[in-house]
Amino acid sequence: MRPPSPSIPEKEFTYDALKQSLRLDGRGFLDLRTPSINFGPELGWVECAMGKTRVIAQVDAKMVKPLPERPFEGIVTIHSEISPMASSDYELGRPSEEEISISRMLDKVLRRSDAIDKESLCILSGQRVWHLRLTIHCIADAGNMLDCACLAGIVAFKHFRRPEIEVIGDEVIIHDPTERAPIPLAIHHSPFCLTFAFFPDPSTRPVVDPTLLEQRLSTGLLSIAMNAQREICVLQKAGGIPTAPDEVLRLVNVAVPLVKDLDQLVEARLKEDWQERKVEIR
């Protein structure tokens, strides 16, 4: 089902408010909804919420034979499930344009940005490598699900720990987590995605982290995936109103401090969780 477009009064009011530099949830134009990150009992299980948008990400690893053309590299796959649970706009089995763009962006941001060192996932070249599988479940969509899903995905990778292994000759010994502490993945950098929404009125500035209403009323979305080291990983603007190069550069500069804040928040939450997991034995 195509999502119904907002009613005329909703549309007019939102545009009026934006013209007066007001957003309906009281945020500034360049404020994110503060993400809340919760970890499950398992390593690599993360629930991420931005306002009422909620996404669950889970990482699991298993051993497989590597691809013949890349015998030294592990495999990372991303499965995103956008079910009708998130919103009645989504249908099972028939992905809408929006859903396809979300899953492709996830692939670009998390996998093709080479955030995870694939060579360190190799166990025995040509015979055994780790296969990491990231599953993303979208629980509720209240706008900007892409950013929330990307955040959940990268945090899940950072939170995940794989069992330690030992290779003696051709034999692989997997150490039980109770025996030897599991080790974290080698992560080069952590990209975060930020989405900006443009509006038809040229005097209205773009807003970051649009709500569902803003997203539906926008005439174009620009997604920037960037890491805290100011490196742009993905920049996507699929259709919508034309944007001047200056405007894109300006938004990239706007994204830099936001991404740094996000990175700090994620690191702080991971540290907190890690502290909680420590059990002292005397």
Binding site: I8, E10, E12, F13, Q20
Partner: protein, 230 residues
Amino acid sequence: MSVVLPGECVPAQHVNLKLGPGLLQISDAQGENPIVSTRSGTLNHSANRSKWWIENNSRRYVPAPQESVIGVVMGRSGEGWRVDIGSAHNASLDALAFEGATKRNKPNLKVGSLLYARVSLAHKDMEPELECFDAQTHKAEGFGELKGGFVVSCSLQMSRFLLDPKHFLLPLLGSRFPLEVAVGVNGKVWVNTKEVRQTIAVIRCIEAVDSDGETMDDASVKKFLGKLEI
């Protein structure tokens, strides 16, 4: 007051018994007609135990006759409109179900217009029907197209709370600035004020008090309002 689950027998007995939402009388093989609950929630009854109903919270609206709802016009169909009221099926609204409407003089509604209407017919297995006037008096009674303002979505329980004159929120907001509100029991509340800021304040307060959000009480809403620029 007690909590019931779907399928439980309810001890409702009265000569002039009236069953409200969530209760159903069934007839079994023994010739008895017990009252059972069809949803979970708290069981309530009126002071003289003649009216019984179940109160709970949900997001999905199931239309019932005589309820006021807010809907969005989705399109034309024959001599009327199809209106989205948040239920499983779109409701139909006859073009003549308005005050002063005749065959020649019909209200001018566009796709996307907002309506305040009453559910006139809500049979099971049938499309619900709406009307924008009182069928007896042919007066609008406040129903009709809503122009300007904004619509907030909230839980169904919240929309019922807003209709309760004893609930604190709307009198509190009304004491700060003049406002116009139309509450639809389908979880849609239309708000209009003079200033955009004030409308945003109302929207945020309703969302804050809603049990889907922060579930604020009287005192914290007052504090919250103080922080907002109105």
